[in-house]
Symmetry: C2
Subunit: 421 residues, 2 copies
Amino acid sequence: MKLYKGHFIDTPMPGSFRVREDSIAIVEAGKLLSLENEVPERLASLGVTDLGSGVVIPSFIDLHVHAPQHMQMGTGLDLGLLEWLENYTFPGESRFADENYARKSYPLFAAELLRQGTLRSVVYGTVHSASTLILAQSLEQAGLTAFVGKVNMDQNAPDYLRESSDESFNDSETFCRKLAGGERVRPIVTPRFAPSCTEKLMKALGHLSQRLSLPVQSHLSETLSEAQWVSQLFPESRSYTHVYDDCGLLGPASLMAHAIFLSDREIDLIVERSATLVHCPSANINLSSGIMPLGRYLDRGVNLGLGSDVGAGHTLAMYRAVVQAVQSAKLLRILRPRENHRAVSLSEAFYLSTMGNGQFFTRQGWGPCGAFEPGMSFDALSIDMGLPEAVQLSPVGQLERFLYAGDDRHIKKRISAGREL
Amino acid sequence: MKLYKGHFIDTPMPGSFRVREDSIAIVEAGKLLSLENEVPERLASLGVTDLGSGVVIPSFIDLHVHAPQHMQMGTGLDLGLLEWLENYTFPGESRFADENYARKSYPLFAAELLRQGTLRSVVYGTVHSASTLILAQSLEQAGLTAFVGKVNMDQNAPDYLRESSDESFNDSETFCRKLAGGERVRPIVTPRFAPSCTEKLMKALGHLSQRLSLPVQSHLSETLSEAQWVSQLFPESRSYTHVYDDCGLLGPASLMAHAIFLSDREIDLIVERSATLVHCPSANINLSSGIMPLGRYLDRGVNLGLGSDVGAGHTLAMYRAVVQAVQSAKLLRILRPRENHRAVSLSEAFYLSTMGNGQFFTRQGWGPCGAFEPGMSFDALSIDMGLPEAVQLSPVGQLERFLYAGDDRHIKKRISAGREL
């Protein structure tokens, strides 16, 4: 049993920050037993770890990130999605055919996630199984918790990355079986997006996910031109969302990134299937894709999460994704006044990056996480902005300042399931 | 005479980055004499300072920043402009009635500008002359170059900040005379914005600026509600822009921040008067104000600059303002497709933060600056992203990565007029 003292802030509900100052977290076997005002008498003999005079928050979770693209992060962002894939991303991903390159690159990615306080993530590798296993090892060795996917592409990809349907499926099955049941790193079925996968492959992957009880991740309706392309490629499906549904890829274990241009019928289907949509604001702005109507989806009861989407997003720092989610909702509201979009508060965006994203892990059979509730994995960051005496801020003020103006230097401790990393 | 070796990147013109690899800058009396491929024979006896294997760029310039608001940076940003002023900004500024508070706070602001590589700036203080002189000293002592303004407010301000018209004017005149002709820090006339100044005061300040040949800064058309308020307060002026013009405050030495909602007639007047508009994208997004049509103004030949606008902007880092300028132009283009806005490239936004902003200093009789042109002040930052071997980027790629994903740790040297700070 361990005791931690600090000013705890979390968002069990999106509408506001919950602050518990000067409290004691009682942690057993990596889980929070309770948060108390003082050390209970029966535990008086235990030492208390002081998490400092700043604030303690749930550690960040990233629901959508491409590990190989960490290498190209921040470059080529004057392009749109399809040109950017062709000129930057696909050539960059092809380098992971070389396992030595993966051994050099992926530990840097894992170290950067850790540095930024992202202790759980759902990660894309490349089509290369061997390199993607190295990615999984790198995350595991850094003490991080993650789902990792070997990417599938059996059409509309450059020759140097395109797989045959059988090879793509077989490699995926082998990959998934190797990682299944891992303590901290597990597999996720990862058809890149509908344009780059044949129906045959997607249906086989749908079966695989059901057979092995594995989650699924893909991209959905990121740009208008891509959505039009999908309607040409899959004329028998009623919509882009229906393509995935028709292939058995849409369910409570599905993560769909972007989802900017959905019809009401598609949103209904997402809600009906209890799939999770992942908002990736930085990427959507950088590639001039559009802005997900986040406020509307929140009000419709869609399962929602937040992703950095590096490398179209330009930073792995989820606190920057939180701010970009707030900013893009503001811009959607003021630039499209007739559509009656609403603002998204800082607490709602922070909720997505912790509790909202945590619910995806919870639903996949990992214990609950994302806030400081009894029974949840004790995943925490202690934040100290090192504010000078002249700046007096409340705990929420300190958190706001960290989210907007802080960086990894202000994260003083990173705790995953009660273990300091 | 000093020699510096490095890979130099600048933007003498906005359309593209100019790269001069492995070059030697010859600097005399703080100014660049020339950039050569190698050390000229006549200078062979001089030592060469190696600026590293990264890139060397002109140091950043911030044309709009509120020093007292550095204390509140990153907080209260779920509000709109007028509520934010009332609840966060005015109470925060009132603390500067106490010179001891200024002595504690302003050196922190100056240190942060320096840390972020912003070696020139145009800065608002508060209504308090004594504290604003301390601000000027703090900037001077940090080795920074700046214009500093004592703020004027003689109406529509809270009692605890409102001055009488005479007091406001007299304090300004005394303040300006004290700083006039300073080596590095000089005064700028600073009526806060039309709503908070009577016509009488603004006209007197207009005369003052002409009499002492001083520049002027203010805010223009930041939000629609403010613009409507101005039309009620000044019914005899043809527009918000005309209010300043009618008071003798609009000319080649005038900086007007925001300028989001201007009519064509107002833009014509800005161009005719050769005034400079300062784009403050972070602030405009954070306070849900709107987005300046930057591409349109660039194409109209308006003098343009870029500002952090801390505290409505949430960081003093001008490289983040560069990215937010690019991002907001993208969003304006895609969210308002019928208005035919164009994208703004990274080089255009970088140009604003260096060469564009530098032209304001140049026009005020300070020597030219903002790029690596012969005769310009040698103001430079050496940038090293510390990229691992696995990431191979061109010089422009390194600069892109710094602008999007770097921070102050990647700024290795800060040189102002040939002097390392």
